[in-house]
């Protein structure tokens, strides 16, 4: 699929199939990517709740890391299946009643509990725009969708401390510059007691597990709702969290 721009002397014809290499793709020059990276970085620092800016920062700086992730997925049989079949996690594709009927302790049931406790939805992910390769764009999209599942796997809520812990895990796992930056700057916004928790137990656990765990993007999560969470953690080589963080601790910092 293509975008073609024919320039004639007096006018410009543009016809596009969808916009670019995939729906939502915006072609950008290297200068634009650099400007976007700087601009989105500043905007995200000023207002960390601007998820679109965090997303843009990830896309414009993540090319080498995405290639690495894609290659890891290709080398894993289940990851390869994910790359071929391209599953997407959306409310429309999730059977919520079926998930609710699963036993406690199963991955699907715990994921649903995470969505309800933290009042989040899998549909709030920003679409990928600035990655200039269709397969890498899918890897990026999958990374975003798996982020919520990671919260469930790691047992972390969506408050600031939980998010920082997940970011440390992701930084160690994926090497995406956006994750590394967020991991370094996230703790700045934590109060003293949470910082202590992070640096004494939670942070180290997140880092170690990030390094040694199997590539979390290589799992076909949609086929594993019935599997028990403990079992899945063992398969992925992830230790259970050292602390239980309650979602009720969630307040804006």
């Amino acid at each position: 699929m293509c975008v073609k721009q024919l320039h004639s002397s007096s006018s410009v014809f543009t016809y596009s199939c969808y916009d670019g290499l995939y729906p939502g793709h915006i072609a950008t020059t290297p200068i634009q990517k650099a400007l976007l990276a700087v601009g989105s970085g500043v905007a995200a620092l000023q207002n960390p709740y601007r998820h679109d800016m965090v997303a843009v920062l990830g896309e414009t700086t993540g090319h080498p890391a995405l290639i690495n992730l894609r290659d890891r997925m290709r080398n894993d049989p289940e990851g390869y299946t994910v790359l071929i079949e391209r599953p997407k996690i959306r409310l429309s594709t999730l059977d919520l009643t079926k998930l609710a009927s699963l036993p406690d302790g199963s991955f699907g049931r715990e994921y649903l509990r995470f969505l309800e406790d933290n009042r989040v939805t899998p549909d709030s992910r920003v679409d990928v725009k600035f990655v200039d390769n269709e397969e890498l764009a899918y890897v990026m999209q999958r990374y975003r969708e798996v982020h919520d599942l990671l919260h469930t796997l790691l047992g972390m809520p969506t408050n600031m401390l939980g998010e920082v812990a997940v970011k440390w895990f992701e930084a160690a796992q994926t090497g995406l510059p956006m994750c590394v930056l967020a991991a370094m700057l996230g703790p700045v916004r934590l109060n003293a007691s949470r910082l202590q928790t992070l640096f004494t137990s939670l942070g180290l656990w997140a880092l170690q597990n990030g390094w040694r765990a199997r590539c979390v993007l290589s799992i076909f999560y949609e086929r594993r709702w019935e599997q028990s969470l403990a079992d899945l953690r063992e398969e992925l080589n992830i230790e259970p969290p050292p602390l239980i963080l309650s979602a009720l601790n969630k307040r804006k910092i």
Binding site: M1, S10, Y15, T29, L36, G39, V42
Partner: protein
Amino acid sequence: MAASVILRLQRVIRLSHGDINVVAAGVSSRSGCCWVQSSCRCFSDAADDRRTHFGFETVPEAEKAKRVYKVFENVAQKYDIMNDAMSLGIHRLWKDALLHAMHPLPGARLLDVAGGTGDIAFRFMAYIRSQQERQKHRAARPMQTSPWQDISSSYSTEDEGGPQESRAVVCDINKEMLKVGKQKADSMGISPGLLWVVGDAEELPFDDAQFDIYTIAFGIRNVTHIEQALQEAQRVLKPGGRFMCLEFSKVTNPLLARLYDAYSFQMIPVLGEVIAGDWKSYQYLVESIRKFPDQEEFKHMIEDAGFCCVRYSSFTGGVVALHSGFKL
């Protein structure tokens, strides 16, 4: 003479481009690309679906208005911030220059079309107010040595011909932009004398010969049928009324033009994405500037609509041009 003939020929060619675009799009859609939403309509009624430009894209005319509406609906909240960021504040100088050229006097009635967030209308009201202050001072000077009774009687006659005489009507097709403008006016406390009306520049909801001054600042390039907007301007102006248009235009200096192009295409969509979260709207805006006729051609279009004494002046090397004409 020859130059103007050439310009008119160019315009004829441009008007007939609509047909050429239809043919070209039809060819492209047949050659295998099946997801083109805009070209698909070519299969049905090529003769009926006149096409026009939306930035560098070609779309059916009926669709352009809808898409422009969507653009401004999306950008309304961040419109003023983006203007400051993109032009580094220079847009304020351009608008001030428009007001100085306009030199409205108390009693003038302004129609600001595509006035959206109200920049021109606010400046108009401020200008009128300062003119009124000057008039008051001038009137007060000979009174300084008069007895108290004469001064107090002059105060009572003053209030009748107050700011109520001058009225500015802000007309815009987009409700979101008007909402933002109204909020600004309320917070600045300058609501009296301002009217906010939803309307289409191609079909204004006003009677003939209502206004002394018609302005359209950075709005006319978004109108689908510019000639119709010019004719509506001609209609609603009183005889002796003035048409003024501030719009992006052609930069003549080649070096400046290249810098301007690089800045427009590299920087502005990035600013749009970072500040407003909307790349595509700002991509459209910079492309629509390129599709707009240059200073001379637009001057001829204004003359064709029946305006006299049409003049233009370029600012910032041609980045912006102010066109002015009179209805006689």
